[in-house]
Amino acid sequence: MTCILAALGAGNMFQANQAHAMLSYAFDVPSEFGVITGLVLAALVFSVIVGGMPSIASVTEKIVPWMAALYVGMALIVIISNIGQVGAAFGAIIEGAFTGAGVAGGFIGALIQGLKRATFSNEAGVGSAAIAHSAVKTKEPITEGLVSLLEPFVDTVVICTMTALVITIAGLNVGPYDGSGLTGVTLTAASFTETAGIFKYLLALAVVLFAFSTMISWSYYGLKSWTYLFGEGKGPELAFKLLFCLFVVIGATIQFGAVIDFSDAALFAMSIFNIVGLYLLMPVVKKELHSFIARVKSGEIKAYKK
């Protein structure tokens, strides 16, 4: 149930909301036109999740890695062109983490906010990515675990640090954070635009594609959970798909604050049960990992080089 809520919140409404927020920022689209963004995204999402035909998702899959490269490239340009401020930016980030500057509740407040955003970003411990990894056919399930370790590293350590540097260098992170000021994707976009005006257009393209591909991934997680609860069959599956598309439209039209609160709550609820499960399964994972490493060392599992 919590996964379904997270799929509808973090994996759907938040994505649609931020896609429209980005369009509003980059092209000055009024927020009441969110329903159009929502309807267009919902139609495309429906066409993908209805199943079976070649869809726009396969095209998006090929484009998104290039968009990621574009994002990293833009971040590097901002960082390199402001290289003198990087040290001060790191200092401000570390100082903010321990003093809780700009966050209610001081150090604990900053810790909670940091955990919320990190969980949202890399999904570590939530159990969502595990659904996708579990679909992989492999004789060594532990390898999927090892591969998945890389995801939080790339996402949080590399991408989020670069984004944090861009935002801190621009110095626009001054609130208010309830959606009325620069927040979420608009804060990021405004920070990038401080260096080059064209960045907002490139970011708009990247954000829409990222949002779309994230919605597709989460629709799968949600559908898996839905069919676990209500059983497989055309009726229940179609019901979820329609509900998912409806939430795309809702997400694009409502306020950022409501969307992020709902998404955070759903992800938090999801991670509670998942972390309990992780703790109980820890001995099994440990045994599997030791067995895998021992077999790699003994040569039973061979490492192939190109």
């Binding site: 429906f46 066409s47 199943g51 708009a204 393209l205």
Partner: protein, 188 residues
């Protein structure tokens, strides 16, 4: 391996890797002509892209009358053209109907050339499980034809088993050829 082994055609293997979960085509027989008619659901699927593409393009054209909105017009127009073109590419095969014409003694799918009806040896039904990153796995069925020269050509490919079995039987009767069932249990 001898010369004959290298020429063997595995009739259990499916021709296509993927296929739609829903019914995409139905067989229609009218006199000496049998053809595959796309279903409304298949056409609607393609139409989603065309409608979205045209809508975005229309919006972009409308925005061109506002000089301060050129950037948004270019953005929406670009997306509209891309999505609409994708939809057109998807719908194109549906508009070209595959047909079996007894008068001309030919099978025409606008792809495989020189397939005479007299050369068709049998029809075969194959099954597969389509696995996707974006959805649950599902069963999909193929109706293929085999010619006396060993060519295998796909005729139908969709997830409605009952309709495919019915169409296979009807087509087998129309062509006076045997329908062989190569469905098997697939364990993932």
């Amino acid at each position: 391996m001898n010369e004959h082994d290298s020429c063997l055609v595995s009739l259990q293997r499916t021709i296509l890797k993927n296929g739609p979960e829903f019914l995409s085509h139905k067989l229609v027989i009218k006199g000496d002509l049998a053809y595959l008619k796309p279903t409304l659901s298949a056409m609607s699927f393609c139409m989603i892209y065309i409608v979205v593409g045209v809508f975005l393009l229309g919006l972009a054209v409308r925005l061109l009358s506002f000089p301060d909105r050129y950037d948004l017009a270019i953005f929406l127009g670009g997306f509209g053209i891309a999505i609409g073109t994708f939809g057109m590419a998807l719908i194109k095969p549906f508009l070209r109907r595959s047909s079996f014409d007894k008068e001309k003694n030919s099978f025409n799918n606008h792809k495989d050339r020189n397939v005479k009806l007299g050369h068709i040896v049998s029809l075969q039904i194959n099954n597969k499980i389509v696995q996707s990153k974006h959805g649950l796995s599902y069963g999909c069925y193929e109706l293929n034809l085999l010619t006396q020269h060993g060519r295998r050509i796909n005729i139908l490919n969709h997830g409605d088993e009952q309709q495919l079995l019915h169409d296979a039987e009807q087509l087998g009767y129309f062509l006076h050829v045997e329908v062989k069932d190569y469905r098997r249990e697939i364990i993932l």
